[in-house]
Every structure is written in structure tokens, then in C-alpha cells.
């Protein structure tokens, strides 16, 4: 049974605690699968799929040899991993299909032609796409959609594919935890038992602290320091308006809108700023052979994305429609699983999948409807569907295998108590002064491993609350740090990188991308960690 310990601050908190004695050897063995992925990708530049497969073999071997694993546990772990992966894969397949359709009908080129009408300023264009559009799409689509949609647009504008992935991934890192109806945040509330209204203000402030560094990193990567100096007032203005919106929505308990709301406010702010001469840029000759699309042609080619926004928004925000579509839900029941060393995974149900309101379905419906429309207008020929499906299938197979492997690593580790041992090692050996600054990195670790802020919060939410209570720290602040770490760290996970790389033709080069990305991706996380440390110290010293 999961161990139930009494939390002196917020009542009973339950987490699955490994019965194994915590030793350095056990801890190191538990960390082996994660270290395998990191070392193979960063040092040996292996692709995400290959590193994930190796990590699966290591996790299986360690579980069988040292953690009381069995073939039955491996089979159940893999079945659970498949269900977990399916939830993400439907979105990935939809996003890849949308991307193939967009490439076929020239949408990416159309966006490249449209942007100069908004502003000719490269740094403003970059911020609009890599920071705000990605964040907005995260609010609707979630997993993989922002990078899958926006990175190819940046490549089409002439940016290096690796930089395009890094900029779009880091750009929407803050938006993950409150995206997709704040599922990750809701999971954190559920597993910790701490009321959302207590965590939400801390969560808003910690995530808002990442805004300025995120904007600066994107502008620096795209346009250098000169661009940063030029765009800094705009970054600051957008950060202030987005941060205020995020804080207000969270304190009002409207966190399901805390990605879409701030993103829209950010887009509006930047749009207003483009009216200023400083950010309107110099009118240049239109690229692409001097062609300029008529507004009608432009609108037509943007159909897939316009429909995605309209349908996605309708499904999320029109409450009666949302309730109607959510009537059908699929959930799988799993039995209790006990490892050879007595680690118990209680009988449980998988997360409910709502097939009709699922972001993957929204993507597929958008593709289907826009295909019909575009076929009528002659933009899709007889040979187009075959080409679109072939490109999608080629990209989807490797991405799907990669996601299944990483999900498998995560479920094996969870079912034999490796994840629990890993987290306990951190929570029980670090003192109360240092722990707040480490808490976001526990969230990062969970998200890196599972590719999801939601899964990171489920894995470590209760443990973080327990550790904070034992160390007499502010529990909501530590949970907010877990949430922020998971959100900002998830964009660097191999699972997400596999999908991102596929869409810009860098399949198999995830290690190269991660190597370049990790330094920049860690900057907002370090800022959040330092802020949590200082904030916790101030709270504990009664300032």
C-alpha cells in the first residue's frame, strides 16, 4: 500500500514510498536510465530514439537485477507505457499531418510573406512566433504542437533549423503547466492535496520570472546582442502585461485560462508595439521572388491554422460543447503490482482520454475540414493526399517509437520503485536551506524523463509536499517550484525533441539539438530556482 504520512501543514499526503533501504548504491542504480539518456545524447550525440531504446534496456536490466523486477512487471509497465504514449501520439500524428498539409499548400511560405506586413522588425517577428504564438498554441494543443507548427515557420523565414527548435521550445516552456486546460497543475493539486488557490499565486510569480529571460534568449539566438538591446523594452512590456494577467487569472482560480489568457494579452501588447516606429521596421522588398499574395490567397493558405484556432478555442471555451464532447471517456483499469522487493503500485485507472475533445482530434478535424476546403479551391491536387500521408507516416514512425521507448523507461522505473528511490535520495539528503532551490530541478528531472509536466507532477508532487512539510518549508511555494521546473524542463525532454526534430528534417539529430539547447534552457530554470531559494529563506526568516 502507498505509505501515508501526516503532513503537519496540510493534512494527510500519500505517496508511494519505496520499502528499499536508501543507499548511495541504490540511488546511483536508480539514476542509471536517466544518466544513460543524458550521456548518450549530450556526449555521444545519439538520437532520441536510439538513446531511449538503450535507456529502456538499462532500466529493464537494473529493475530485474537489483529492484525485484519481473517479466510480468515489465509487461504491465510496457502496456501502461503504451496507453500513456497513445495519449501523446494522437497529438503528434495530428500535428505532423497538419504540418505536412501546411507544407503542401504553401502555408509556411504564406506566413513568411504575411509577417512583414505586421512588422519588418526581425526581433519582433521572432518574439511573435517563437514566444507568443507557441505559447498560445500550447494553451490549445499541448504536447509537441507549438514546436511542430512554429519551428518550420522560422526555418521558412531563413533561420537555422536547430536554432528554430531551440527558440520555439524555450519560448513556450512557461506555458506548459497551465496549457491544455491546466491539466498538469490540476494533477499537482490532486496528488498533493493542497488547495490550488494556495499554490496558484506562487506558481504565477515563479513562471512570470522566466518571461524576460525567455524573451532575451530568443532574441539573442535569432538576432544577437544588438537585437536584444533593440527589443528589450518590448520584451519587458510584454513580460509585464503577460505576468500581470497570469497572476490575476491564477489568484481568481481561473488557471485553466492561464496560458491562453496571458498569450493573447502578450500578442495584443506586441501588436500595439509594432505601431511604434521603432518596432515597425524598414519596409523591404518582398522576398520569394518578389511575389506578394493577395489577402484572399493568404487567408486560404492559412485555413489549416485558422481552423485549428477556431475549433480548439470552441472545444475548450464553449462550456456546453465541452461538456457534450467530454461525455465519452476511455480509461483503463490496472491491477495492483508488487515487485519482488515489496514495492507496491496500487490498483489504478489510467487518465481518462476524451476522444472527442482530445487535442489530437481537434488537429485531425482541422486537417480534414481544411483539406476539403482547399481541395475545392484547387490547392490540393489528386496526388497531394498520397504525398501528405507518406511524409506524415515516415516522420511518425520514428517519433512514435521514441515516445513509446521513453514512456517505457518511465513506467518501468516507477513500478519497481526506482523513481521513488531517486526522489527520496534528493529529498532526504538535502537540508531545508538548499532544498527550495533544488525543488524545481526535481520537477525538471520528472519532465525530462517522462516528456510531460503532468507526469512529473504526478510522480513527484506528493513527495515534494512531504519533503517541504518535513523540512518546515512553505509547501505551496515548493509545489509551485515543482510545477515551474516541470513546465520549463519538459521542453528539453527527448520525447518532445524527437517530435520537434522530425518536423524540421532533423530526425535522429536530437542529441545535437539537446547539446546546444541545454545551456539556454537551463537559464530560466536557474532563475526560478534561485528565486525559490531566496523567497523560501525570506518566508522562513519571517521577513
Amino acid at each position: 500500500m502507498p505509505e501515508v504520512k501526516n503532513n503537519p501543514v496540510f493534512g494527510a499526503i500519500s505517496y508511494n514510498c519505496s520499502p528499499m533501504e536508501l543507499t548511495l548504491g541504490n540511488w546511483l542504480l536508480s539514476s542509471l536510465p536517466i544518466l544513460t539518456v543524458i550521456i548518450l545524447m549530450l556526449l555521444f550525440k545519439w538520437g532520441g530514439l536510439r538513446a531511449g531504446a538503450m535507456s529502456w534496456l538499462v532500466a529493464a536490466a537494473v529493475s530485474l537485477i537489483a529492484f525485484g523486477g519481473s517479466w510480468l512487471i515489465l509487461a504491465w509497465s510496457q502496456v501502461k507505457a503504451l496507453v500513456l504514449a497513445l495519449n501523446m501520439l494522437v497529438i503528434i500524428w495530428g500535428a505532423l499531418l497538419l504540418y505536412s498539409l501546411a507544407s503542401e499548400v504553401g502555408t509556411i511560405r504564406a506566413i513568411g510573406l504575411f509577417l512583414p506586413r505586421l512588422s519588418n522588425d526581425r526581433s519582433i517577428q521572432l518574439l511573435m512566433i517563437a514566444w507568443l504564438l507557441t505559447s498560445f498554441l500550447q494553451g490549445m494543443g499541448g504536447f509537441g504542437v507549438p514546436v511542430a507548427v512554429c519551428a518550420p515557420i522560422l526555418v521558412g523565414m531563413g533561420y537555422d533549423p536547430i536554432l528554430s527548435i531551440i527558440m520555439t521550445a524555450i519560448g513556450h516552456g512557461w506555458a506548459v503547466s497551465f496549457g491544455s486546460m491546466a491539466t498538469a497543475f490540476e494533477s499537482l493539486i490532486a496528488v498533493s492535496g493542497v488547495p490550488g488557490l494556495l499554490i496558484a499565486p506562487y506558481a504565477a510569480i515563479l513562471l512570470a520570472l522566466s518571461f524576460v529571460p525567455t524573451g532575451v534568449i530568443i532574441t539573442f539566438l535569432g538576432t544577437g546582442w544588438k537585437g536584444v538591446r533593440h527589443a528589450f523594452p518590448a520584451i519587458l512590456s510584454v513580460s509585464l502585461t503577460m505576468g500581470t494577467t497570469l497572476y490575476l487569472l491564477n489568484t481568481l482560480g481561473l488557471w485553466s485560462l492561464s496560458t491562453i489568457g496571458p498569450s493573447l494579452v502578450g500578442i495584443a501588447t506586441l501588436f500595439l508595439l509594432t505601431r511604434l516606429p521603432a518596432y515597425h521596421g524598414v519596409r523591404t522588398v518582398i522576398a520569394n521572388g518578389g511575389q506578394e499574395l493577395s489577402p484572399r490567397d493568404l487567408l486560404l493558405r492559412l485555413t489549416p491554422y485558422i481552423l485549428l484556432v477556431v475549433i480548439g478555442f470552441s472545444v475548450i471555451l464553449i462550456q456546453p460543447l465541452n461538456t457534450f464532447l467530454n461525455q465519452v471517456g476511455i480509461s483503463f483499469k490496472y491491477p495492483e503490482i508488487i515487485s519482488g522487493l515489496g514495492f507496491v503500485t496500487p490498483a489504478e485507472s489510467s487518465a481518462t482520454i476524451h476522444p472527442f475533445s482530445h487535442p489530437g482530434t481537434v488537429l485531425l478535424v482541422s486537417v480534414l475540414l481544411s483539406s476539403i476546403l482547399l481541395k475545392r479551391k484547387g490547392l490540393i491536387t489528386r496526388t497531394s493526399p498520397r504525398r501528405i500521408l507518406s511524409v506524415t507516416a515516415h516522420n511518425a514512425v520514428d517519433a512514435s517509437l521514441g515516445v513509446v521507448m521513453m514512456a517505457g523507461v518511465s513506467t518501468i522505473m516507477t513500478h519497481v520503485g526506482m523513481t521513488s528511490t531517486l526522489a527520496r535520495g534528493i529529498a532526504e539528503t538535502i537540508n531545508g536551506v538548499i532544498y527550495p532551490a533544488v525543488a524545481p530541478f526535481v520537477g525538471v528531472m520528472g519532465a525530462f524523463l517522462t516528456g510531460s509536466n503532468n507526469n512529473s507532477n504526478i510522480l513527484f508532487g506528493a513527495l515534494q509536499a512531504e519533503a517541504a512539510a518535513l523540512l518546515k518549508l512553505n509547501v505551496p511555494l515548493i509545489l509551485a517550484a515543482q510545477n515551474a521546473g516541470g513546465s520549463l524542463g519538459s521542453v528539453m525532454s527527448p520525447t518532445k525533441l524527437i517530435v520537434s526534430c522530425t518536423t524540421v528534417g532533423l530526425g535522429g539529430q536530437e542529441g545535437k539539438v539537446l547539446r546546444k539547447m541545454i545551456g539556454y534552457g537551463l537559464i530560466p530554470i536557474i532563475i526560478v530556482a534561485v528565486a525559490t531559494g531566496i523567497w523560501s529563506w525570506l518566508l522562513n526568516s519571517g521577513v
Partner: protein
């Protein structure tokens, strides 16, 4: 007609994806019903598929 290298790789990866998606269920069935040999063969194929990804990707 011989397949190109890319098409061959695509088909093999499709096959491995199918193996990784279906065999865990077969393994569960075998282990829960005492079909030891089927369990052994299934788990061996499952692991060999993953080893292929490590060695040949």
C-alpha cells in the same frame, strides 16, 4: 522491384513499432495463463526489437 534503403528502413521500423505495441499484451496473456514458452519467445522478440533500435539506428 527492390526497395530503396529509406523504404526498407521505414518498413523495418514499422514492424518494430507493431512488435512493441502488440507483444506486451501477448506477454501479459502468456504470463497470466502459464504459457511459459510463449512468454519466453515473446519477451525475447520484444527485447531483440529494442536491441535492433540501439544497434542499427
Amino acid at each position: 522491384m527492390s526497395l530503396s534503403k529509406g523504404a526498407k528502413r521505414f518498413r523495418i521500423n514499422m514492424l518494430i513499432l507493431a512488435i512493441e505495441a502488440l507483444l506486451p499484451f501477448l506477454l501479459l496473456f502468456a504470463l497470466n495463463n502459464g504459457y511459459t514458452d510463449l512468454g519466453r519467445v515473446t519477451s525475447a522478440i520484444l527485447v531483440l526489437g529494442i536491441i535492433y533500435l540501439v544497434v542499427f539506428k
